[in-house]
């Protein structure tokens, strides 16, 4: 199709979709309404399992199976990126060059890096109590390491991230989520069942399995994101001598 025809086809369709969507929204319950039956059941169930952060309870207890699927997507993406961003036959990887950095940037990075790591661990560990959890904390942890790149250079980052260890950690964390689910099946008769003692409400040990799942996800997200970024950064920094098209251009 020519760009014009394509645009015309789309605009007509979009107009129809727009009209139908608008009309359908008028049938929705009004914004801000008080009827949230599933939400209320979830709050009650979370409190019964002594988990103060209801969102964490939904993610790691009530609907932990969703999170298992989601963690598998992350795991699968890390595998996929590792496969897709492998060196082609005509490519070479060389060591990154060292680079000059302003002393102030270096200082800021050196100060922020440990602080960010501590914040990340805190967010993972308190996922069952306060906003946060494995995903959020994991991403903060992954970011922390990359401060090394900002504050120094790529070679420092490479020393900070032992990729082999992280790759294995990512896999083991993904496997441990499923394994804990199977443990629930063996101990409590249901897959992903929260079988540990529930602890005291609003204490760091509360929520039964929720902190464990949080920790597994934290490890997986942190190591997965670092590995993922490593493959992308390698492409930008270290890989050269690409396909024929590139050389012609």
């Amino acid at each position: 199709m020519s760009p014009r025809a394509r645009l015309l086809l789309f605009l007509v369709s979009a107009a129809v979709i727009g009209v139908y969507f608008t009309l359908s929204c008028r049938e929705l319950p009004s914004f801000g309404g008080a009827s949230h039956p599933y939400g209320e059941r979830a709050v009650a169930a979370a409190l019964a399992h002594r988990t103060a952060n209801v969102v964490s309870s939904v993610n790691f207890d009530l609907r932990a199976f969703d999170t298992l699927g989601e963690e598998s997507i992350l795991f699968c993406t890390v595998l996929g990126a590792t496969l897709l961003l492998r060196l082609a036959r005509d490519e070479r990887q060389h060591a990154a060059a060292s680079e000059a950095v302003l002393p102030t940037t270096r200082l800021l990075g050196a100060v922020l890096l440990p602080v960010t790591v501590v914040v990340g661990v805190y967010i993972v560990a308190h996922g069952q109590l306060s906003p946060g959890g494995g995903f959020q904390g994991g991403v903060v942890l992954a970011t922390a390491l990359h401060l090394g790149y900002v504050a120094a250079d790529y070679r420092v980052l490479e020393r900070l991230r032992p990729l082999v260890v992280l790759d294995i950690a990512d896999s083991l964390a993904a496997a441990s989520f499923t394994a804990m689910g199977v443990a629930g099946l063996a101990a409590g008769g249901a897959f992903l069942k929260n079988v540990l003692p529930l602890g005291t409400f609003n204490k760091i040990t509360s929520g039964g399995m929720v902190p464990l799942f949080n920790a597994a996800v934290g490890v997986e997200v942190a190591s997965g994101v670092i590995v993922l970024l490593a493959h992308f950064l390698d492409q930008a920094v270290e890989v050269t001598g690409t396909g024929t098209q590139e050389e012609e251009a």
């Binding site: 789309f10 359908s24 319950p29 897959f191």
Partner: protein, 605 residues
């Protein structure tokens, strides 16, 4: 073992196997990886086979011990579990097929390919077994993510990368449309469980909110099932993915889309406050017929073998959609048997095409003319596969087709014609290619210059090991799959239990009672559903296969140029031009499809 154990284990086994492989692949030799992967896949097949033989009605397991109102439940009837079993069997076949097939990356990346295949399997099994709409979205994306990465596996060739990107963007976009629909439905019903949603729908009348949310939710499944006009991504992705991946994409993943449409309609929208049966029947029958015809015509036009197989999948999916759209147990039973047998036959044909690619570095019907004369066994298998696809008794495809035709004939007398035409054209195209490639029949085919088409020349060979012997698994696996396809047709027990499953599938009250508990007491008297060969079915199956053979022989020998009307020719050329490979076009067609469905259902409610 009980259902409560088997249902979650079916998802957990591949999810445990995949990370294990990713770690062990670093140290294990190639054989160790293969044994581990095949072992995990075989364990899952055993698990699902046990489950399938257990099920009476609907097997339900609450995950995490939470009831359906609070948590997620896994719910499997014979149809859903059967599809999961089919997917797992194909995964096992694929892993065995690729034992000696791939030159996998070594070192730290060894073991990643089978690990990805196992994750893909987990996505398919999870999608087939879940009883929760949002959870279905998650597993849909899991199989998507694994599928995109596997499709783009051969990074040195630009075509797989393009196909994988198109696949990824169009499918993800559709998944987000679906999630919007889930959000709308959640606002209306306050539930995410399929059965609970279906019950809550009855508290409101059918209005535009129901229509729009239904259309949005099924968009993802229509795209996955490659229903016209949502189908454009499929030939681009299936034609370029590594052969073992094609076996999975065409054999099981596409069919899961059609299954999803039926599952969501029956559990959520079939009751009061949902989508009226007539509206669904008319719209989806039309879509199915359109898909079947477009797929069959485009299949006939191809010379790229994998693209030909991909379009034949489109054509057959159209027939599955028609079966589901009939809204009768007979239609679903036919579709279920057809899907099972088609998955085996299609995977076998892709596997045989992989051998050609491995031997000759080409999958082009014209370029391979007469070159495979010394691979007679392969040629015979290919012809058998093509005849199976055309519906030759006693292959299961023939039985599925016969059951579908009988059910469709009750609804509209002309519908069986579509079944026959689609089977004959798709089977005929493959027979034509087989005659040319393996027997060098007829004059040397010549291409028409200036045509918008994809030739199969200049493919990157998937294995770089010149002069090696043909690995026996690469022939044994397709042969076994063809035998399995015949078994589906010959063992009456298979079709009988799928037919019983179809009766459960089309009775939302049974599903609801199983998932939501005895609060909704229901004593079901399930109807008897036909599942045996009939004289008419045998005749139509034999007829389709004969028609396919006639088409193939006529095309190869060209004793007569078919006096096609110029208008028909222009139509076909125009249809081919529409398959432009352009992402923007595909998205525009998707928008058109959504708009047309909104308008169609809006007018009928």
């Amino acid at each position: 073992m009980t259902d409560a154990t088997l249902l979650p284990l079916a998802v957990a086994i591949p999810l445990l196997g995949a990370p294990l492989l990713a770690v062990a692949g670093r140290v294990l030799p190639r054989t160790g990886c293969d044994v581990l992967a095949t072992g995990a896949a075989a364990a899952d097949v055993v698990c699902l086979a046990l489950l399938w033989s257990h099920i009476q009605g609907v097997a339900v397991t609450p995950v995490g011990g939470w009831p359906a109102q609070i948590g997620i439940v896994l719910a499997a009837d014979r149809v859903g579990a059967g599809l999961a079993l089919l997917a797992s069997c194909l995964v096992l076949a694929v892993l065995a097929y690729s034992w000696r097939y791939f030159d996998e990356p070594r070192g730290e990346r060894a073991g990643l390919f089978p690990a990805m295949v196992l994750t893909f399997q987990a996505g398919m099994v999870g999608f087939a077994l879940t009883g929760d709409l949002f959870n279905a979205f998650v597993f849909f994306e899991l199989m998507g993510a694994a599928g995109y990465a596997l499709t783009g596996y051969r990074i040195e060739d630009p075509r797989p990368l393009q196909g994988a990107l198109t696949f990824g963007i169009v499918n993800s976009l559709a998944a987000y449309c679906s999630l919007l629909g889930i959000g709308l439905l959640y606002a209306r019903t306050g539930q995410l469980n399929l059965a609970a949603m279906g019950r809550a729908m009855g508290e409101h009348r059918t209005d535009l909110l129901v229509v729009v949310s239904f259309v949005l939710v099924v968009t993802a499944m229509l795209v996955k099932a490659a229903v016209v006009p949502f189908h454009f991504w499929l030939p681009d992705a299936h034609a370029v993915a590594p052969t073992p991946v094609c076996m999975l994409l065409s054999g099981a993943m596409v069919e899961l889309g059609a299954y999803g449409i039926g599952r969501v309609y029956w559990t959520v929208f079939s009751g009061p406050g949902g989508i009226p049966h007539d509206a669904f029947r008319h719209t989806f029958t039309a879509l199915g017929v359109l898909t079947a015809l477009v797929g069959a015509v485009m299949c006939w036009q191809q010379r790229h073998l994998k693209r030909m197989l991909a379009y034949s999948t489109v054509g057959h999916v159209g027939l599955f959609v028609v079966g589901i759209a009939l809204l009768t147990p007979g239609g679903v039973a036919g579709a279920a048997v057809y899907v099972a047998a088609h998955g085996c036959a299609k995977a076998a044909l892709f596997g045989l095409t992989g051998v050609l690619l491995d031997r000759y570095g080409s999958v082009d019907e014209h370029g391979l003319y007469g070159r495979a004369r010394d691979l007679r066994l392969l040629g015979v298998l290919f012809v058998l596969g093509a005849l199976a696809l055309a519906g030759l008794p006693p292959f299961g495809t023939g039985l599925g087709k016969a059951l579908g035709e009988a059910a469709a004939g009750h609804s509209q007398a002309w519908l069986p014609t579509v079944y026959v035409l689609t089977s004959a054209l798709t089977g005929g195209a493959l027979l034509r290619a087989a005659l040319r490639i393996f027997w060098g029949a007829g004059p040397v085919p010549h291409s028409r210059p200036g045509e918008a088409e994809t030739s199969g020349e200049g493919e990157e060979p998937e294995v770089r090991e010149p002069g090696r012997a043909l690995p026996p698994m690469m022939v044994a696996v397709p042969a076994l799959l063809l035998a399995l396809c015949a078994l589906v047709g010959c063992l009456p027990a298979v079709a009988r239990s799928l037919a019983r499953g179809a009766a459960v599938f089309t009775d939302p009250a049974v599903y609801r009672a199983a998932v939501l508990g005895p609060a909704v007491a229901h004593r079901a008297v399930l109807p008897h559903v036909a599942s045996a060969w009939t004289a008419e079915g045998l005749l139509l199956g034999g007829g389709s296969a004969a028609a396919a053979a006639a088409f193939a022989v006529l095309a190869v020998l060209r004793p007569v140029r078919l006096p096609l009307h110029r208008g028909v020719r222009a139509l076909v050329t125009g249809l081919r031009r529409l398959h432009s490979g352009h992402l923007g076009d595909y998205v525009a067609w998707l928008a058109l499809g959504v708009a047309a469905l909104c308008a169609a259902f809006g007018a009928q409610t």
